[in-house]
Symmetry: C3
Subunit: 375 residues, 3 copies
């Protein structure tokens, strides 16, 4: 790798276009290890440690030095030092070391335990921007009380209000019903009926396909960029039904082409995501979340993400939630991956060095600044 | 890489076993950029350029020198020089530099804008061979006028006539209904009924599953190699429903084992294609089209294509249509990929150099010459 | 790669946690070549040789020296030497050279032609352990005679008896109905009815979904580790319906979490398998079978298998059946892959050398010894 590219990759200020807050309080080691496992909500079995994973090894390699430890410090050493420094110091060190100028924060999950948009800005020294989660908006509305007949109007009004302070919205429909269903806009009558049924049954976790589709298409009409969870996530979702390729009919449907669609995560279906980002001018994607969890293998997945999609259609994200190691590692591993992958192409003469610098800027932040109109 | 292998890879005369004609007329830059995007028929948005893609970078790296420019010339420089030389010179330079001895040309799409079989031969200095597209044959028949009752007989007669001058046929059923349906041969009565209905409705774009299946099985009876579009293509198709693994029941059905089945493109399902090429003696495949569009990443995809399939079952193709850069890049990138991948294996002692030379000859042209009986 | 890691990788005694016996008799070359093709039961066509494949090249590279030939000996030389030495010598050389301490042997397929558990132990100098194949147990019971009404009780009794001498059970449900069906436990009445129907129809190849599900859940109640064939196998199965991701509902169902689930093979769906091994504490997986058949490419697939799954959840297997080259190559190619992949990470500073040694021990044997309680 040319030293110019290496320096540029390590210095570029990133936009983390999909992230959540870092923990506000200290936690114990068992909880910490559970949060290193994205797929499972259960405690780590006693016959293993979640540190023995690519993520665990990456934490010991890249996060230990941020806490003044040598690279590859043991899990016990790491945990002792982390506890000694305390949540505030640990969080600030990791967030600041990430080199992120802008955090686009989805506050729709577990908000009680994590920093909000302003908290992320303050702790990191960067800027925070709000992403509104559609399903949380609906669930909040149900908690406040609304009738099935007023559901659509009230949802639209709340979405518009929330959007005034937001740069985008997000759908976790993948967690609630999968993409391999009819995703066309429901009729007003169908929405009223489904809303009445859902509200009558308590109006908690929104999993009604009609209301999920309604929320998605309300967002389409709103016009802000729509982030859609696809691929890797916890075992609540059916991974294969969250393959973004099942969004084809949705992407072809009227009106959708007019709003940026941001496919999040995508792993292990990032090649399908890259295809969609070539085939539809409004589709963008990232390989966040997986990058953290697969550690050293992020180099390969970043390389696989650089196939069909034009370079204007890819973004950086960490999708970190909770441990600020994740916010930091997303940036460290993305920089490392992109530096190694592009650096190799430059060394081999396939790419020019100037092009490599440009593409780093585009994916690292430029594309996000354009899509979300951050400046 | 041994210099013997490097020299052999760069000198071997290829058979491009699935390709279309190059443009016959000059076009403007916007049109050119649109044709660098396989997935979308739409104009490239004004906030990006399709040159900022792996294909665009590969054009600037590998095609610029063919037009007397330095490698990595800018898009503007490239476009200016290309316009200056004109379509005839540009086409001849790229086709001749590809080092292709035989082009197997599917003329079934957009024939008005591109060179025909003889035109390709003349412009390239190689030989041209015809591939008959089944769906175009049916649509031509409908345009000429035929009754539903005579459809099957007339289709059979036309297919046989066309086949006299062809080395193979092709199906784009993937574009019209996907593979995840019943692909067994329909009854004569069902064909007559479906044909009547299709002809009554105008007999244009053939998308009736019964008639598509009929065409496919007529080709099976004919006995020529059958090329089947699978995987990557424009967004008209449902990518996941074009996964060749859905052809399993078709491949197991009576009679199909007696005719060579050529799975085209396959990306990102080339591992499934490799599996089918191991599991069925008559199944062959290529990773054309993707090779062009993913540029430097073609090395990885070629490597992934060299897993389960015996080496007698893989072929080279570009699937180029329109810009002759695509005809050229297919060959350049395949040579580069195979040289690097096999060269590494020879360097590491996993393969012998003699074996590597043999496999280059098989995939580069020998397998195609055997299957299509080119000599 | 550090010399310490290289030495460790080549010396570590493996547990082959899923394997079958080696041939007991000499065979002719045509039969041998057929057995180098996992996907197809048909003779190799006369216009090719199965030696021209990654597996064939790997045999000539790695197995030839075990028979005193130079690396890359020709197929003819290899075959002549193999025939000269005879089955007993060939088998002993390959099994002993594999460096396997424990073979977990599934005897449920083609038992007449291959070594049994004791035969494998004797020929290899290692220990043998029995894996009971559920479907074979049911078919044996049908051959002995049982009524539909007694089916469930008798199956349970036989399973319990067989399990006294076994370390695990195996299901080949993937071959008989695929995973994309209801895999919940059937009612006793449904089992009795289905059993009666199957037994009346002859009670040979068990393909009734009710009885297959019954067998699987009987194994869950038994509590021994359950090996499940997923992914790559012969063309009898629908590869995509054997994607382990379709087991999600089964894995979420009551009781299943209490028993180790061992996903076998998984290729080309090993990333989905790695996801499941992160998401469910009881799920483990391997990339056996593919490793043999893709030869030098095993390095890449082993790397791909080291992404989401914690390192305590992966195992080594060869899934060899018949030619003892397969028993040997599984070990050779796994050692080579893991040495190269982990060695690179250590060289680059991503992993510590000590961690690499630990992970080799875990995947090579430690995890299997823990799960199957081998010591």
């Amino acid at each position: 790798m040319t030293s110019e590219l290496a320096e540029h990759v390590s210095a570029v200020r990133l936009v983390d276009h999909h992230v959540h807050g870092a923990f506000t309080a200290d936690l114990d080691r068992a909880d910490f290890e559970t949060h290193l496992n994205e797929g499972s909500p259960e405690p780590v079995p006693e016959w293993m440690t979640q540190f023995d994973s690519q993520l665990g090894f990456a934490i010991r390699r890249w996060c230990a030095p941020v806490l003044d430890l040598p690279a590859h410090a043991t899990a016990d050493e790491y945990w002792a030092r982390r506890a000694e420094l305390g949540v505030r110091t640990v969080t600030e060190r990791f967030l600041r070391a990430a080199g992120v100028s802008d955090w686009l924060v989805d506050t729709g999950y577990g908000a009680d335990a994590i920093l909000d948009v302003d908290g992320m800005a303050a702790a990191s020294g960067g800027r925070g921007h709000l992403i509104v989660r559609l399903e949380s908006l609906a669930e909040g509305m149900a908690a406040d009380g609304v009738s099935g007949r007023d559901y659509a109007d009230e949802f639209g009004a709340r979405l518009e209000r929330a959007a005034r302070h937001a740069v985008g919205v997000k759908s976790i429909l993948a967690y609630r019903c999968g993409f391999d269903i009819d995703l066309s806009p429901p009729t007003p009558q169908a929405v009223a009926t489904a809303a009445g049924r859902w509200l009558d049954s308590g109006g908690t976790r929104l999993a009604d396909p009609v209301l999920l589709r309604h929320g998605l298409h309300a967002a389409v009409r709103l016009g802000l960029p729509i982030q859609i969870h696809t691929g890797f996530g916890d075992r609540d979702l059916d991974l294969h039904r969250a393959n973004p390729i099942h969004l084809l009919d949705f992407l072809r449907s009227p009106g959708v082409a007019d709003v940026p669609i941001m496919l999040l995560h995508c792993y292990p279906y990032h090649r399908e995501a890259g295809y969609l980002a070539q085939a539809f001018a409004n589709v963008h994607f990232d390989v966040g979340l997986a990058i953290n969890h697969i550690g050293v293998r992020s180099t390969q997945v970043v390389a696989e993400s650089l196939e069909l999609a034009p370079f204007a259609k890819q973004l950086y994200s960490s999708d970190a939630w909770g441990p600020p190691e994740l916010h930091h590692l997303g940036a460290v591993l993305w920089r490392r991956a992109v530096g190694r992958v592009l650096g190799r192409w430059v060394d081999d003469g396939d790419w020019s060095a100037a092009d490599a610098l440009r593409v780093v800027d585009m994916i690292g932040g430029g594309n996000a600044r354009r899509v979300y109109r951050l400046e």
